[in-house]
Symmetry: C2
Subunit: 385 residues, 2 copies
């Protein structure tokens, strides 16, 4: 009986989710696996609809294009699963003679991975996880593939915007970056700093309760001192009472649409301080911009795909591939396998050691930890002023 | 008597304004010019304050870094000039023995160029213009340096976001791009299209009055047909009565802060159609992102700097360097000199031939015109669904 392996993508794409897919397929082939290699079209929803793409029959050259392809080349899914869906999936996997399932995603996907593993245990089907998130909020591991490229995107963006702001000058520029609960991405903007006291001048993350009055006094003081001020904020900033900083623009039943926090804060600077301000929101481009793909991130994504494939083909189930940091300088990580129960729906936030006591910046310790992942140092630009 | 040449930047930076600076300095040297080569620090304001950077003493290697440097390496200025400032500038130029001034900028800067030329005529000082704008709204010439790179940025961004939106899917994604009165940049998003009917699905520019009800019916129809919809809007969209689409968030005396049109329209889609929507606003990064620098734009920026330097050193005054299109396929332009009076404060909008009759797209004619400037065609990505 010919048995197959199936890769399933969950949650939002990253710049390297397809690199993990490549790593999984390549490693499966390298091991001389004789069965089919499938990708579920649009994640777990695709499994339930029995929509599978045949990846194994692609040429090595065609597969290598995955490394440079943004978004997810097999689609992904955000549809929440019901309890009964897991049993149905197990039946479908059996029917298609699938021996191993690799689920690529973040906390939510690892939760699904653990649940599917439980129902598949008696069927002899292995279910393993490949970590993936731009938010870097998966527990236990040092970092997740996808974060390094998104961090590089933020650093590149803020570095170049800061030069623009200084050249023009614009006064106050607020850059809003993704991150609802965890500030890892906003924190990465610190990599853009050329020197102490350089831009970005202020970094606000959801881990520190946001105080509007303190923000205004921070901006006002820096504007008086430097002229132009670059502020980076996580989209998910919260007030001390836990409410969102930007008031909701629309609420109706369960539907709710919050305003953009960057836009809200720019308005605040203008109306309260009388200083010219504007906001930028590069948004979801931060997770699919191939020009910002970190080479380190890409290589690690390939390795995590291969590691999970190895584990599954060796008959392991309920483990997620991961990386443990050995050293930041020189940068080195070792591979590890994490029991998926340890990361299911667990949300890892920035630790206190990475946050400045004033709550408006990150520490040098964070920068030293982050820089090798993004593989980003601001270039040595020409300047005559 | 040692005479000097001075380069002055005006208005917002582009990804290639420093390439024009490089072209002007290199050409001036190539001609064996023996005097000093200055850059005014922070534009005309820097001239009035007599703040000059010595560019001529830089090594060729150091100068070449200008080609890869975002923003303006000598700063730029947006300070409006008073009538008496021109006479003062002429005095300062005489005092510093400046024989030729090159002013790099858009319509506003060309206006200043024409006025300065008038007061400098009797002093034997040449004043010439180098075109520069991401908005592409300078008259007479085929296009201005800066536009091609900003167009490439928009095309790259929308191409990658469209893949993300399709992979997830997100439903309705609205990308707001720069452009207050002219829609050249929003129009460039059409370069991201892979096939007829591909994303972006709708493009709205300020040249066509924006009708919210028509917009909602366009989005609703496409959502029903395709599932996910990518919309590109110029920040300066206007209603039929000329008012802004996004209501002002703050008005006090002369200060006014409009909301983001993308954010406003996403809210409208959610509240009126009940469809999930979000908005992105890459904003000013679009004019300083070096990863999106168009090689064609960069080379033309160098040429325009050199052409203006040649004209000024030959004793011409009151002319702006420019390009006239000879052919789009293969792409070819010839250099031209335009009397600056023809472009002073003139604002060139998208012509009717580039706009679809329905007012929600651009024509193939526009795409054929624009593609060689951005030097962008969507890559052949891997896709298994």
């Amino acid at each position: 009986m010919m048995e197959s392996i199936l890769v399933v993508h969950g949650g939002a794409p990253t710049a390297v989710i397809n690199a993990s897919l490549y790593g999984a397929v390549r490693q499966t082939r390298r091991r001389g696996f004789r069965g089919r290699i499938y990708g579920a079209i649009h994640g777990t929803g695709g499994v339930l609809e029995e929509r599978f793409a045949d990846l194994g029959s692609s040429s090595e050259e065609a597969l290598r294009r995955l490394l440079d392809t943004p978004a997810s080349a097999i689609g992904t899914s955000r549809t929440p699963l019901e309890a009964e869906d897991y049993g149905r999936m197990a039946e479908i996997l059996k029917k298609h003679q699938i021996r191993a399932v690799l689920m690529t995603g973040g906390n939510g996907t690892m939760d699904a991975c653990g649940r599917l593993k439980a129902v598949c245990a008696d069927e002899g089907i292995s279910v393993c996880g490949i970590p993936k998130t731009i938010d870097n909020d998966i527990g236990v591991i040092d970092h997740a593939p996808g974060y390094g490229s998104a961090a590089r995107f933020v650093a590149q963006c803020v570095s170049e915007i800061a030069l623009d702001v200084r050249a023009l000058p614009i006064h106050v520029c607020i850059v809003e970056v993704m991150g609802r609960n965890a500030g890892w991405l906003a924190a990465a903007s610190a990599l853009a700093r050329r020197e102490e006291g350089g831009a970005p001048d202020l970094i606000y993350v959801p881990e520190a309760a946001f105080d509007e009055e303190k923000f205004l006094s921070d901006v006002s003081a820096l504007h008086a001192q430097k002229g132009d001020v670059v502020v980076v904020v996580s989209e998910g900033l919260k007030r001390p009472d836990g409410s969102t900083v930007a008031p909701p623009l629309f609420v109706s039943g369960r539907a709710r649409y919050d305003g953009d926090v960057g836009n809200h804060l720019a308005k605040l600077v203008i109306s309260r301080l009388g200083i010219k301000a504007r906001s930028e929101k590069p948004g979801i481009w931060g997770r699919c911009c191939m020009a910002a793909q970190s080479p380190v991130d890409r290589e690690e994504a390939v390795r995590m795909g291969a590691l999970a494939a190895d584990a599954a083909l060796d008959g392991r189930s309920g483990v997620m591939a991961g990386l443990r940091r050995l050293s930041s300088d020189p940068y080195s990580c070792e591979e590890m396998l994490v029991p998926v129960e340890q990361v299911m729906l667990e949300e890892r936030l920035l630790p206190p050691a990475f946050l400045s006591p004033a709550g408006n910046d990150v520490t040098e310790e964070f920068v030293a930890w982050c820089r090798p992942l993004a593989a980003y140092t601001p270039p040595d630009y020409a300047s005559y002023f």
